[in-house]
Amino acid sequence: MARFIYADNAATTPVSKSVLEAMEPFYTQYYGNPSSLYSVGRAAKKPLEQARETVADCLGALPNEIFFTSGGSEGDNWALKGVAHEQAKKGKKHIITSKFEHHAVLHSCEALEKEGFEVTYLDVHSDGLVRTDELEAAIREDTAIVSIMYANNEIGTIQPIPEIGAICKKHGVIFHTDAVQAVGNLHINVKEQNIDLLSLSGHKFHAPKGVGALYIRNGIKMPNLIDGGAQERGRRAGTENVAGIVGLSVALKEACANIDERAKRLTKMRDRLIDEALKIERSHINGDRVKRLPGNINMCFEGIEGESLLLSLDLKGICASSGSACTSGSLDPSHVLLSIGLPHEIAHGSLRITFSEQNTEEDVDYILDVLPKIVAHLRSMSPLWEEIISGQKKYSQKIF
């Protein structure tokens, strides 16, 4: 009966077979430094540039607008700090972002605040979405950059990116989006959606960890994050991780080739899991029911704690994650769940399940078989659950 189900694809994904096969020659045969003029160097340079074209194509960008990085965190740091420092020269020292961005964005903003930049952190509403009117109202003469994530990594909610792009264009403000969770799952076109900078990371779509890209629209000037050699047209130093980059381009192309079919299949699995799991007493879905990534399920179960939920699932072979404090390694539960208005103790009882191409309907069956029993078991041990069902503890329905 015990199975192994990997249901934490928002955290990372396995490298797919085709990606691994595409990468291997660049470790063993075409391992040359792309900057070297001899045979094995040239043999690495060409695929590097082909990979760039592929990535550009998938995003609706030009190849010379794609810069390879070490991943999403680097892309976010570079975009925010680069644009902020450049725009500060013109007296623009205001940044707009949202309260539930990834820490790579939030902590970059905090670092910029220490340098004297002013940051507006937009509220996220209980549906897990920012409001475009609030964003527009926050834009000032001295706004250097707006950074709003395409889809949230914890609750999967999809932000109104094209509308935000249009607003930023109207006001002449640079718009960056952390699209790490969205790339490969949603149709993205940086020109049509008026996106000026976009971060992506390979390990979220079956490419290896340690490789990503930052799209920077032509014409946007900004200092380098990493200085050194002349790689990436002098804008991002470091000998290129050709194997990783080739892997990333193959993975991205594959993901983008069947976005719609995969979305259809995963949405069906997601919805079945949510609908059935919501039958568990006092359970709630976090974030908009519909405007969320096809494979993302994020729920709270009153009266229990996330780490013990995950440990129990792990004992049954299921890998998932949670927003509880114990799992975040801090004393507060996930800032994302707090930003949508959940009280601490409800946020502690959260569960995130994220499916990929490799998950099946049988996985959903198994999870649905195991989950209610685990919740019931933990509740039978919980003094908080006792208080909840005896009516001593009440939560306002407005928060859900």
Binding site: G303, I304, E307, L311, S324, E345, P383
Partner: protein, 144 residues
């Protein structure tokens, strides 16, 4: 999170889960905002803890430390139960990750809280016998 086998055993098969309806003393520590609540019920006969049950809302370490704590005091004299330290609970579990040490502190406090309640019910001032039960220092919530 590197939990020892003993911790995982007490998590997967917790001992003494439940309630004692006519308990001699009940102690509850922690708070939901922090993500940790432990409640201990003790039945005392003479000066021996003849039965003990617990309920815990919390992580793997919280459940394991409460379970182990109940095992360590069951059948013991009250004065011995009061001597139980969080270190003893941790050692019995073959150690805890540093970030989980405070769970063992909570378990020690839950026992003291239950014994305090027992003394109060008997009209005895618990303070000189049990001592102070300090707030858990690792909790940064503004509830305190």
């Amino acid at each position: 999170m590197a939990y020892s086998e003993k911790v995982m055993d007490h998590f997967a098969n917790p001992r003494n889960v439940g309630e004692i309806p006519d308990a001699s003393g009940v102690g509850e520590v922690g708070n939901p905002k922090c993500g940790d609540i432990m409640r201990m019920y003790i039945k005392v006969d003479g000066d021996v803890i003849t039965d003990v049950k617990f309920k815990t809302f919390g992580c793997g370490a919280a459940i394991a430390t409460s379970s182990m704590a109940t095992e360590l005091i069951k059948g013991k004299k009250i004065e011995d139960a009061l001597k139980l330290t969080n270190k003893a609970v941790m050692e019995a579990l073959d150690g805890l990750p540093p970030v989980k040490v405070h769970c063992s502190v909570l378990a020690e406090q839950a026992i003291k809280a239950a014994v305090s309640d027992y003394y109060k019910k008997k009209g005895i001032d618990p303070a000189p016998l049990v001592g102070n039960i300090p707030e858990c220092e690792s909790c940064a919530c503004d509830l305190h």
